[in-house]
């Protein structure tokens, strides 16, 4: 079901930034952590905000104490991504008129992530969170339906989470090497032309919240990985098909950027819609909850030409998914 009825505002993405957790973990690290069956490919890594020594010493068995295990909060990673997006947009932070944040693993449930990031950027502008499914689907789907006279000149959207901080590496299952701490941000404007123009964006809730992925306030993260990839692929394929059908997309200029998808999954989804160019984020980095589609975009950005149509897709298994269709300027 569509979130809102129609796109009323042409938004441009002026800058995109991404950032990772500080600790890189390889297959050998997971084996050292007691995860012998980790099927992480050689060359792939996962990123964690946790200090390496803390992780090996404690295995993060007490997630209540995680703040002692890192000096890098989700807000730190969001801030790093935001600074890159702002620089790439060619503006200064004080030109922003609104900051919208999103974080699934906050250190504080109040104030909002948007307010924490805005604070760190030294801003005194309206800020709040739109949470539940990530940057592209919901933030862009909402903003592209706004009245132009109520839309600030520059808006920062930032979404980041540190799922590894909620994982018990002592007792957990495959989720221990599945996730990655990361953030993505973008600067959008309805008044200035940018690298990408958002032609359409939609997001959907699928009526069932208790799906494959749960971040409880006090309990370790739950990811039912036996059906997690299948659900993710179904939702991703559904959103991609919607964009293709609605906008009659075809031809070599259509490009797919699949957040959180493996390369195999992205290939199958692309093939299903006769799309030959695609990018994905999972193989190299793991599941980032909500930042993946911009990481996938970055992998293919160098191949893009003016006039290409990029479908950015993001989904959280079980309950929410969305896409943003952009034109390359």
């Amino acid at each position: 079901m569509n979130i809102y009825r129609l796109v009323t505002l042409v938004l441009n993405i002026l800058g995109i930034g991404t950032a990772f957790g500080q600790t890189a973990l390889e297959k050998s690290d997971f084996e050292r952590l007691g995860i012998p069956n980790c099927s992480l490919a050689v060359g792939s890594i996962r990123r964690s905000a946790l200090h390496r020594d803390y992780l090996f010493l404690t295995k993060n068995a007490d997630i209540d104490g995680v703040i002692q295990g890192t000096n890098q909060s989700p807000t730190d990673i969001c801030l790093a991504a935001a600074k890159i997006a702002i620089a790439q947009a060619g503006i200064s932070a004080d030109q922003l008129g609104l900051v919208i944040g999103d974080c699934s693993t906050p250190w504080q449930t109040t104030p909002s992530e948007g307010q924490r990031v805005a604070d760190r950027l030294g801003l005194k502008v309206p800020s709040y969170d739109i949470g539940g499914g990530g940057l592209v689907p919901q933030h862009l789907a909402s903003l592209s339906r706004w009245r132009i006279d109520r839309t600030p000149e520059y808006i920062l959207l930032v979404s980041g989470s540190t799922p590894t901080s909620r994982i018990n590496f002592e007792k957990g299952g495959d989720e221990r090497w599945h996730f990655c701490d990361a953030a993505a941000a973008c600067v959008v404007s309805s008044k200035h032309r940018g690298k990408l123009t958002v032609l359409d964006a939609e997001s959907a809730f699928h009526g069932k919240a208790e799906g494959s992925f749960v971040v409880d306030q006090f309990l370790p993260l739950i990811a039912k990985l036996d059906n997690f990839p299948q659900q993710l692929e179904l939702l991703t394929a559904d959103m991609c098909a919607k964009a293709v059908f609605k906008h009659k997309l075809h031809g070599a200029h259509v490009v797919l950027a699949c957040g959180e998808a493996s390369s195999g999954m992205a290939a199958r989804v692309a093939q299903g819609q006769s799309i030959s160019r695609f990018g994905s984020s999972f193989d190299d980095n793991g599941h980032m909850i909500s930042a993946g589609c911009f990481f996938a975009y970055e992998r293919i950005a160098h191949t893009l030409k003016v006039g290409d149509r990029v479908i950015l897709v993001q989904a959280l298994p079980g309950f929410v998914s969305g896409y943003a269709l952009c034109e390359v300027n």
């Binding site: 900051v99 104030p111 604070d119 709040y128 339906r145 109520r150 919240a209 409880d216």
Partner: protein, 337 residues
């Protein structure tokens, strides 16, 4: 101070409102018995709160002082979700619509049980709503944020019915060894159904939302810990900012306090009385519930309005000014049909 964009009168109506509180009650006498350096008399005199609603069993508070908020959830009689659900059901009933007719659900939860799925997704599932749902969060001034956010949209872009919920169980995050925090907080949820095109009981005449994130750490709820605030700074800010918000509505809309109603952020009664004293708002036209239920964060002001839903008179205007964590603030001016 910056605002979202040029203000323009939104064309929104509130069709129904609901509220819910847990059954537990914390009295000043109970807080005195905790022996943390306070008396019932002192609390009444300082903040004007006599009782607060809580989702925690009184025996649990007595025994543990809630030193580990982690443990609170296992003994709580309500969660932010169960309270939100009851408030939503009342709002839908008063609006005369079914959950299935809701086209968008927005939820504000300062104390969510989980961050994924979000409180909005859990509430959507519990209510049987298959429409899009997401959290739209700023804590205390959320009544203004939700309405001002919807006013950003082209009317045609919105569904016929939007359900908004603000829910909070702050008592589960209070350190009851702290005499100030223990005296302030209560639990509750408020809900309201808004339409961009269907006529309702209350028409939105004006809305604003602002924030100053440079003071974002003045009010904090730690995910694993307790609520913390810079009490004096927040109180001064709240009074000053609320007075500004009310003054602007008075000037722009020629409010008449002999018939119009004021509802402020339900922080504490003495603060509200400072504001009404400053603006010369008579007691009869000041609606509040903080003295009986405590500070319910973002749920406070909408709960007051929901509780007085049947007392609203035709043509009456209701000026709502809300402030709090963020630091953020906003206002909504409503007119009854």
């Amino acid at each position: 101070m910056t605002q979202t964009a040029n203000r323009r009168a939104p064309e929104l109506s509130i069709l129904g409102m609901g509220f819910a509180h847990p059954v537990g009650e914390i009295t000043n006498e109970f807080l005195e018995k905790l022996e943390v350096g306070t008396t019932a008399e002192w609390i009444t005199e300082k903040i004007g709160i006599r009782t607060r609603k809580t989702s925690l069993p009184i025996e649990y508070i007595s025994k543990t002082r809630n030193q580990r908020p982690h443990d609170a959830i296992s003994v709580a009689t309500d969660t932010s979700m169960t309270l939100g659900l009851r408030a939503a059901e009342m709002a839908l009933e008063r609006a005369g619509i079914k959950a299935g007719e809701v086209g968008l659900l927005l939820v504000n939860a300062c104390t969510p049980c989980a961050t994924s799925p979000t409180e909005s997704h859990r509430l959507a599932e519990a209510l049987g709503i298959e429409a899009p749902a997401h959290d739209l969060f700023t804590a205390c001034p959320v009544f203004a944020l939700h309405i001002d956010y919807l006013a950003n949209f082209e009317s045609e872009a919105l569904p016929d019915y939007v359900l908004c919920i603000s829910t909070a169980t702050l008592t589960q995050h209070v350190n009851y060894n702290d005499r100030s925090d223990g005296a302030i907080w209560g639990d509750g949820a408020g809900a309201w159904v808004i339409s961009p095109r269907k006529p309702g009981k209350l028409k939105v005449l004006d809305s604003t939302y602002h924030s100053d994130p440079s003071r974002s750490q003045a009010v904090v709820v730690d995910t694993w810990g307790h609520f913390k605030q810079d009490g004096r700074a927040v109180r001064d800010f709240s009074v000053r900012q609320t007075v500004r918000l009310v003054k602007r509505m008075e000037e722009e809309f020629k409010l008449d306090w002999s018939r119009d109603i004021f509802i402020g952020h339900q922080a504490n009664l003495t603060m509200l009385q400072q504001i009404t004293g400053n603006r010369e708002i008579p007691e009869s036209n000041h609606w509040y519930n903080v003295a009986e239920v405590g500070n319910q964060a973002g749920a406070g002001a909408p709960i007051v309005l929901a509780q007085r839903w049947h007392e609203i008179k035709p043509d009456q205007r209701i000026a709502i000014a809300v402030v709090g964590a963020g630091l953020s603030w906003g206002s909504v001016l409503l007119q009854a049909n």
